[in-house]
């Protein structure tokens, strides 16, 4: 079974913490972090590895700070008994 793995890169200095990506993410992968960037916004960080590279966060992001990568993994089928 093929498994899709996504990875996002966030340009934290340009993030304005509007939280639209957090709402748009179907996997609850994004959340506000605890640190601040130089403008004083509590920028968004990735909190788990559930990302599938669906691009929702990048499309809704007004400031275009998110870059998305996606890779399809071919894993061996596990036999279940």
């Amino acid at each position: 079974m093929a498994k899709v793995v996504g990875e996002i890169i966030i340009d934290i200095e340009r993030c304005k913490a509007c939280e639209l990506c957090i709402q748009a993410c179907p996997e609850q992968t994004l959340a506000l972090g605890k640190s601040l960037n130089h403008k004083g916004y509590q920028y968004v960080v990735k909190v788990n590895d559930n990302c599938t590279g669906c691009v929702n966060c990048a499309i809704i992001c007004p400031d275009a700070v998110i870059t998305v990568y996606r890779k399809v993994l071919k894993t061996k089928q596990v036999e279940t008994t």
């Binding site: 990875e7 939280e19 639209l20 809704i60």
Partner: protein
């Protein structure tokens, strides 16, 4: 990271061949001055994506308005001209007539297009000028701190309508798309929004269609985009997008208002 007990290195995923989304190269690599969550930034981004995908960066000329988007030329890496308040359509008419082979667009807010520039826009539409007007409708004057606009909906509180807009004294909200759609010179009128991922994708398609109609020389195209203004509505970006969905979109229904018949 681990997916189903299979270890995957981040370096294996972050490779150029796996790239699925990046900032469009036609959007200049600078910070946008807009407030957090503003629809203007989203529209800048998707319009520049359309320009990049169509490969027309050197063949498109834009006209920036007066309003929050007055610095659009600092972000869009295409040829731009700044017009006086409300006169973007008049300037675009001149550009398109002198350079008919180029794509021309104006980018205007509701104060610029529907209030002070109503006359210019209406007559450009009536002349059937062959350019694209991107109309950002956020129901308020954003840059001057939230006064009532012609498009402010009934009962909406702004700084100049503190008890809500009363149509008896302040008139009804202007539906500019429906107003110009019956004119024979108008080719394409559509209303879209940028409050959800699905709506952003639809808006991008509408902008692309409008540029294709312009290439065919069909006439005036208006893409109205219902947007938010978190700062002047005094809401968080998420609340403002919900307000767009629950209050503005019922009054300004989304969809195509006029579509040209294309001969193939």
């Amino acid at each position: 990271m681990a997916v189903d007990n299979v270890d995957v290195l981040v370096e294996d995923v972050v490779k150029p061949e796996n790239l699925v989304y990046r900032r469009p190269s036609t959007l200049l690599d600078v910070e946008l001055h807009y407030c957090p969550g503003c629809g203007h930034s989203t529209v800048h981004k998707i319009f520049m994506e359309v320009v990049e995908e169509m490969g027309i960066q050197n063949d498109i000329i834009g006209v920036a308005p007066v309003g929050c988007a007055v610095f659009a030329y600092n972000y869009m890496d295409v040829d731009m001209q700044q017009a006086a308040h409300g006169r973007a359509c008049a300037v675009a008419t001149g550009i398109k007539r002198m350079l008919p082979d180029k794509f021309v667009f104006t980018y205007q807010g509701d104060g610029d297009l529907a209030a002070i520039g109503g006359n210019e826009t209406l007559h450009a539409a009536n002349r059937g000028e062959n350019f694209l007007v991107i109309f950002i409708n956020n129901a308020v004057y954003g840059m001057t701190s939230g006064q009532m606009a012609p498009t402010t909906i009934e009962g909406m509180v702004t700084t100049t309508s503190p008890y809500g807009r009363d149509p008896k004294t302040m008139g009804w909200p202007l539906k500019f798309g429906e107003l110009i759609a019956p004119l024979p010179g108008v080719a394409y009128v559509t209303r879209q929004a940028v409050n959800t991922v699905q709506n952003v994708r639809r808006t991008k398609k509408a902008l692309q269609r409008a540029l294709e109609y312009q290439k065919m020389g069909l006439g005036f195209c208006l893409v109205e985009i219902v947007s938010n203004c978190p700062s002047n509505w005094k809401m968080t970006p998420i609340e403002s997008n919900n307000y767009v969905q629950n209050v503005l979109i019922p009054y300004y229904p989304l969809g195509d208002i006029k579509v040209p018949e294309v001969k193939k």
